[in-house]
């Protein structure tokens, strides 16, 4: 069952996918469903002995192309809608023990090609208004499978956080002679330089002035490209290079493979124009504030939506920059 219910108090949809309760949870490595299927072994999701990068429809989707209309329960005040959309799993490698950080820059670049292809294909669907590419890494984030993989949600609506960001950029543009909010934020970070972590020719990684997590990092395209599909070949190469440096630095931070949420923000695929409003970038939110302490989204963050931070981004950036440069 895939169903959307409208929360009129926050003006946002909540997705219900009750079948997800039964999804595979932290199986032993020898029964990993994302590994290749070995001769004589149990059948995994991938019926081949080897693969480069694989994409498949999630067996336990939060949104499904054939979701039916909900049977009752809604009202004019709290309407419901079918949870129609697409959920994909992206397998980064057939190496069960790899992570994005340990992969070659070449493989990361190949992955960017796949992300780009998926953005285009899913975005072409009439039912998909927003292609959300993301990765949850580490048990601290709640992953249920350790095999290196990410996910893609093709939402039937623009989700609240990107929608809020787009609205802010739209208003900024209207009030500032057509300037891009993200381009100006990036210029400010370049000028200040204290929070900049690493730069390539076309991308910059930095901890934003207003970071919500101690080691939150944003990776911005220098050019105002609305989506990953608008990146040119040299930009995709540079993105792979910047991501590799950042991820190796992340893993050097505390001496273990750092958990994180990685999300991409870019132009919706709802048919509207987003030039100068959407600015492709990737955001990382690691939950660790120290090696053995996590940043929890507790009362203020969850109940009030107000983040409380106990470390300044400039301090975190100095630490993480040192790890990146020393890696």
């Amino acid at each position: 069952m895939n169903q959307l219910r409208w929360d009129p108090t926050l003006r946002e949809w909540v997705a219900y996918a009750t079948h997800r309760q039964d999804r595979t949870f932290l199986p032993p490595a020898e029964y990993c469903p994302l590994c290749p299927t070995k001769p004589g072994g149990f059948p995994t999701e991938v019926p081949r002995e080897h693969y480069d990068i694989v994409v498949f429809e999630n067996r336990f989707p939060s949104f499904a192309p054939n979701a039916s209309n909900p049977d009752g329960g809604g009202s004019d005040l709290t309407p419901t809608a079918p949870g129609r959309g697409i959920c994909e799993v992206v397998l980064y490698s057939d190496d069960h023990d790899a992570t994005l950080a340990t992969m070659s820059e070449r493989r990361i670049r190949n992955l960017i090609e796949v992300w780009t292809d998926r953005y285009k294909e899913l975005g072409d669907s009439d039912e998909v208004d927003y292609v959300f590419i993301f990765e949850n890494k580490g048990e601290a984030i709640g992953v249920t499978l350790h095999h290196p993989h990410g996910q893609i949600y093709g939402y039937p609506f623009i989700p609240p956080r990107p929608a809020k960001e787009l609205q802010a950029a739209r208003e900024y543009r209207a009030q500032n002679e057509g300037r891009c909010l993200h381009c100006d934020l990036l210029s400010q970070e370049h000028e200040d330089a204290r929070r900049v972590l690493t730069k390539g020719e076309h991308f910059t990684a930095f901890i934003p002035f207003y970071a919500h997590f101690p080691f939150e990092v944003h990776v911005y395209s220098r050019r105002c490209a609305p989506s990953i599909a608008d990146l040119e070949s040299a930009e995709r190469r540079d993105l792979a290079s910047v991501l590799k440096r950042l991820l190796v630095g992340y893993d050097s931070l505390f001496g273990f493979s750092l958990p994180y949420m990685m999300v991409m923000h870019q132009a919706p695929t709802d048919g509207e124009a987003y030039d100068g409003i959407a600015h492709f970038h990737i955001e990382f939110y690691p939950p660790n504030r120290t090696a053995d302490k996590l940043k929890y989204l507790a009362g203020s963050e969850t109940g009030a939506g107000a983040f409380i931070m106990d470390v300044l981004p400039e301090t975190s950036a100095e630490t993480l920059r040192g790890k990146i440069e020393g890696s």
Binding site: S93, A193, R245
Partner: protein
């Protein structure tokens, strides 16, 4: 009450790099990355009707 800042005038250009920039630029890309990867895309159906797509790249393994 905290007043939100007035709409920030666009002050900056993208050329305002500092001396730190040259230290941060670290172009360590592999030479072979200068070429676009050649990719083969194969789409198949699983037994339960879900699709699976194999992306195979014509470059060396890790």
């Amino acid at each position: 009450m905290i007043r939100l800042p007035a709409t920030r005038p666009a002050s900056s250009t993208t050329s305002g790099y500092t001396s730190l920039e040259s230290e941060l630029v670290n172009d360590c890309r592999e030479d072979s990355l200068q070429e676009d990867p050649k990719v083969e895309k194969e789409r198949e159906s699983k037994d339960d009707g879900r699709y699976i797509i194999f992306y195979t790249f014509g470059d060396e393994e890790d």
